[in-house]
Amino acid sequence: MDQMLKVPADLAALPTPDVAGEWKPFWDAAVAGRLLIQACPACGRRQFYPRAICTACGGEPEWLEASGRGSLYTFSVVRQNLVRPFKDMLPYVLAMVDLEEGVRMLTNVVGCDLGEVKIGMPLEVTFVRAKDGVHLPYWRPVQVSGRRGS
């Protein structure tokens, strides 16, 4: 039987980022539903996770808003995790998403049946509010236009 992939029921139990430090701009943007990556004004290199230095040329990268669209690079169906809240949401899909902008990020695929998850499938970002107002990016299948915003 297929299983619907969801974010954890107990979002307060998630390990979450310290949003006050170096990565505050990323987490501030996430609250507004914007996904930030970085681009280097000197060499054009795009990178994620964000850093204070361009890993291609050593320059100072700037923030760049990503389109929020990508495709599934690889994944695993995790069936054992001893830590809450993950142990209560098994199985879940641990995934790497290739963003249109050429960077990659780790996430969970949600919002579809487990059996629908395939490498190469188009995905879009969706933000979920966790503890302390932190907004976490998750990825889901691209919504068909008829269903979007309904």
Binding site: A12, A13, L14, P15, T16, P17, D18, G21, W23, F48, Y49, Y73, T74, F75, S76, V77, V78, R79, Q80, N81, L82, V83, R84, P85, F86, M89, P91, Y92, L94, A95, M96, R104, M105, L106, T107, N108, I119, A130, K131, L136
Partner: protein
């Protein structure tokens, strides 16, 4: 006349495994060092350089105090399970440069006794943690060690058609070799069907695609070829030791089908003046079956993408071209968290002709390749029975 300073392994030993509730982490270090010194015919006062790593809290500097080693060089940075191959690289350079004469490298872990079987699926963060390092971009999504390697396995299957059956052959091979090791944690032979029928931990990896969790430590002692001549042991020469790190967190792995051994492996062979077909036995860090498969490709034992058929060809069995993990490996014998020490010791045992019923006949060249983190850092050590 110039002395021959070729770095030479003269001592190699393990502490008790797979279950050793009578030993603390410190005691694993100490017991392994005592045994390695005995196997080299050396005293602790001959040691003038020291490197160490542990799974728990014991650092090189606290252990150097515990052991009262008077060291000219000291090392011990965290690079995960491949640390000991990196240490051989550093120790070799330091011996060649005359910084030290005789360097001990030790490892100790009471992982099973202290933490039970939680490492792979309850790794690095707890419920409700607030995370301030770059792991914050992974931790909210339940990234586990097994899940990370599973994503590499899935991508390899997608790109090259590698099958779960082919990965399972690696586990079956290690179990067959563990059957020859009285200390191995699991010795009963298994089949490919047993692996595929075992519980999925993180699809496509089954529980039998994953290493065991044990206690255990070890020690190796390196000195100069000149000094080794005075010792009552068969010398094992370091022909090359090369490491590469491509990332730390799994999400930063540049290509999930190319392991760091693809970079350090060719460098190691070039430095040794050898090629993969010259190697008599391979001791590869088998945290998971996929770790071995990616290393076989990276080190050049088969071509990229062909690791699956190669693993299933029988080449990795005793009697095959490249007998793998002749002690049973991490998949069946023991894995106390950083198995890089155990693969070095097994390579030395083979070259000394001390491997008993698992002995590879006339073994002259052995390769040990460690893996740390999440396929993050690999380091290959090529050892030989003849001085370069």
């Amino acid at each position: 006349m110039l002395k021959n300073r070729t770095p030479t392994v003269v001592g190699a030993a393990l502490s008790d495994y797979p279950r050793a509730p009578h030993l603390s982490e410190r005691q694993h270090h100490a017991q392994a060092l005592t045994r390695a010194l005995a196997s080299a015919g050396l005293s602790i006062k001959d040691i003038d350089g020291y490197m160490a790593a542990s799974m728990g809290a014991e650092s090189a500097i606290s252990l150097a105090e515990y052991l009262r080693i008077d060291h000219k060089v000291l090392g011990g940075v965290g690079i995960g399970g491949a640390i000991f191959e990196w240490m051989v690289q550093q120790a070799s350079a330091q011996i060649l440069a005359g910084q030290a004469e005789t360097i001990a490298i030790t490892y100790g872990s009471d992982l099973l006794t202290r933490s039970g079987r939680t490492l792979g699926t309850a790794g690095f963060y707890r419920e409700g943690d607030t995370i301030s390092t770059s792991v914050m971009f992974e931790a909210p999504y339940g990234s586990t060690i097994v899940g990370a390697y599973a994503m590499a396995a899935r991508r390899h299957m997608h790109e090259f058609g590698t099958t779960p059956e082919q990965l399972a052959e690696i586990a079956v091979t290690c179990r067959a070799h563990a059957a020859l090791n009285p200390n191995a944690m699991y010795r009963k032979p298994i089949t490919v069907d047993d692996v595929l029928g075992s519980r999925l931990v993180a699809d496509p990896l089954h529980v039998l695609d994953c290493c065991v969790i044990s206690d255990g430590g070890g020690a190796v002692i390196l000195t100069t070829a000149e000094r080794a001549r005075d010792l009552p042991v068969k010398p094992v020469y370091v022909l090359a030791a090369e490491g590469t790190q491509t990332h730390w967190n799994i999400s930063e792995m540049p290509d999930f089908t190319i392991a760091p051994s693809a970079y350090c492996g060719p460098r190691a062979f070039a430095k040794a003046g050898l090629k993969p077909s010259d190697v008599d036995t391979i001791q590869l860090y088998d945290s998971f079956t996929i770790t071995v498969l990616l290393m076989l490709e990276g080190l050049g034992f088969c071509r990229r993408g062909e690791g699956g058929p190669f693993a299933a060809s029988g080449a990795l069995r005793l009697g095959g071209a490249f007998p793998l993990n002749t002690d049973g490996g991490g998949l069946s014998a023991c894995h106390s968290g950083m198995r890089g020490m155990h693969i070095l010791v097994e390579a030395v045992r083979q070259l000394r002709g001390e491997a008993g019923v698992a002995q590879v006949p006339d073994a002259r060249i052995a390769l040990a390749c460690g893996s740390g983190g999440f396929l993050s850092g690999h380091a290959a050590v090529i050892l030989g029975t003849e001085a370069p």
